[in-house]
């Protein structure tokens, strides 16, 4: 039952869209394929486990929490080189662009959010998976809202980024309502 509550909390109430304000651009969200979603879910969950274990067993006892960004960057660096090596073997290259780094920021947020949970690898894995799922679901909801808004006759000045930000705000308000209602249960 606790796991179900945890999944619900991270997917909807504790959505990183509200807590971190990590909303991607339209290009980022409109091309989310099943394969991308799967890779994203795996990377988030695995990196959260490593970060969580490292944070709880090494950084916290030594009171070195402020080294978290360096540690996380080392993880990212390792993942980057492993991915690059794998892609090179298939004659492809890893193109690091702004979009790629936006994903890294989301992964970081997930790792940090779940890294502070009591150390139980399965618990961290499930929470990180739910958190990544929540981020993808929020992006998908937002994309659908934007597609519907494209059909509406909204004022010129609100078209594009302003209406997108306002829509995110309204979504965040809805999620916040859920958080207030269910926070005591988790």
């Amino acid at each position: 039952m606790n796991f179900i509550r945890l999944i619900f909390y991270f997917s909807f109430a504790g959505n990183i869209l509200i807590h971190w304000g990590l909303t991607g651009s339209r290009e980022d969200t409109e091309n989310i394929s099943f394969r991308f979603a799967l890779v994203f879910l795996c990377i988030s969950s695995v990196s959260a486990i490593f970060f969580g274990i490292f944070y709880t067993f090494i950084l916290c006892p030594l009171k070195l929490e402020s080294l978290s960004p360096v540690v996380f960057l080392i993880f990212i660096y390792i993942v980057f080189y492993i991915l690059n090596a794998l892609l090179k073997s298939k004659n492809k290259s890893l193109n690091l662009n702004a979009k790629g780094f936006h994903i890294i920021m989301v992964v970081y947020a997930i790792a940090v959010t779940t890294g502070f949970l009591p150390i139980k690898p399965l618990r961290i894995f499930i929470s990180a998976f739910a958190c990544a799922f929540g981020a993808l679901a929020a992006a998908w909801f937002l994309e659908n809202i934007m597609k519907r808004l494209d059909l509406e006759d909204i004022p010129q000045v609100f078209k594009g980024s302003p209406i997108r930000l306002i829509s995110v705000g309204l979504m965040a308000m809805a999620f916040y309502g859920i958080e207030i209602s269910f926070f005591s249960l988790v």
Binding site: G21, Y108, G169
Partner: protein, 194 residues
């Protein structure tokens, strides 16, 4: 984003979106000031490392070393904040670390190809500093809107006049309205001076 006009380039938009977590979390002047300073500190560390590292080092490794310098800068900033104000540190240290992986900081980490790029580099610095200032101004504006007052002591009990301005949802809505205002001004200028 579906910006029909070319007011905001895609590059600038990705930079703005990566700074968005700070804007959303900076709900008062103190947090705005902290994030603004950390952002500028991480940015200057990344930029300086990128410039000062010898050319003999591989471009890819120079980029990663600059990223590590930015991460180390945010760590130093977090430790300093911990000494100065432990309460404030507890509330915002996870976000402080985001500074090292924001798009403007990463852009600064990209080494210069040649000396002709110096002008472009200065542009990047100015734009990034503008983001730092924006975080501070937005924090001040939100605190003023929420409490109708400004204070450097976050422990003081205060009455909220407009609670939405202090919430994340309110931050998004305020940013949307600000973006609409900026766009309206640009469009008006465009009509006057086509």
């Amino acid at each position: 984003m579906n910006d029909s006009s070319t007011l905001i380039s895609k590059e600038n938009l990705s930079s703005f979106l990566s700074v968005l977590p700070f804007l959303v979390f900076a709900d008062n002047m103190q947090k705005g000031l902290v994030f603004s300073l950390v952002f500028v500190f991480a940015l200057s560390s990344a930029g300086l490392t990128s410039i000062l590292l010898p050319q003999s080092i591989d471009k890819n490794n120079r980029f990663w070393l600059s990223c590590f310098a930015a991460a180390a800068a945010s760590s130093i900033a977090a430790s300093t904040l911990r000494l100065l104000d432990p309460l404030l540190y507890e509330s915002c240290y996870t976000r402080i670390f985001l500074a090292s992986i924001t798009v403007p900081v990463l852009k600064m980490s990209v080494p210069l190809k040649n000396s002709y790029e110096t002008e472009k580099y200065i542009e990047k610095i100015l734009l990034a500093l503008a983001y730092g200032l924006l975080i501070l101004i937005f924090g001040v504006f939100r605190e003023f809107l929420a409490y109708c007052s400004l204070s450097t002591d976050s422990t003081l009990p205060k009455i909220m006049v407009f609670p939405m301005a202090g919430e994340a949802s309110g931050a998004f809505i305020l940013l949307g309205l600000a973006a609409a205002f900026v766009k309206a001004v640009f469009l008006k200028n465009k009509r006057i001076n086509p």
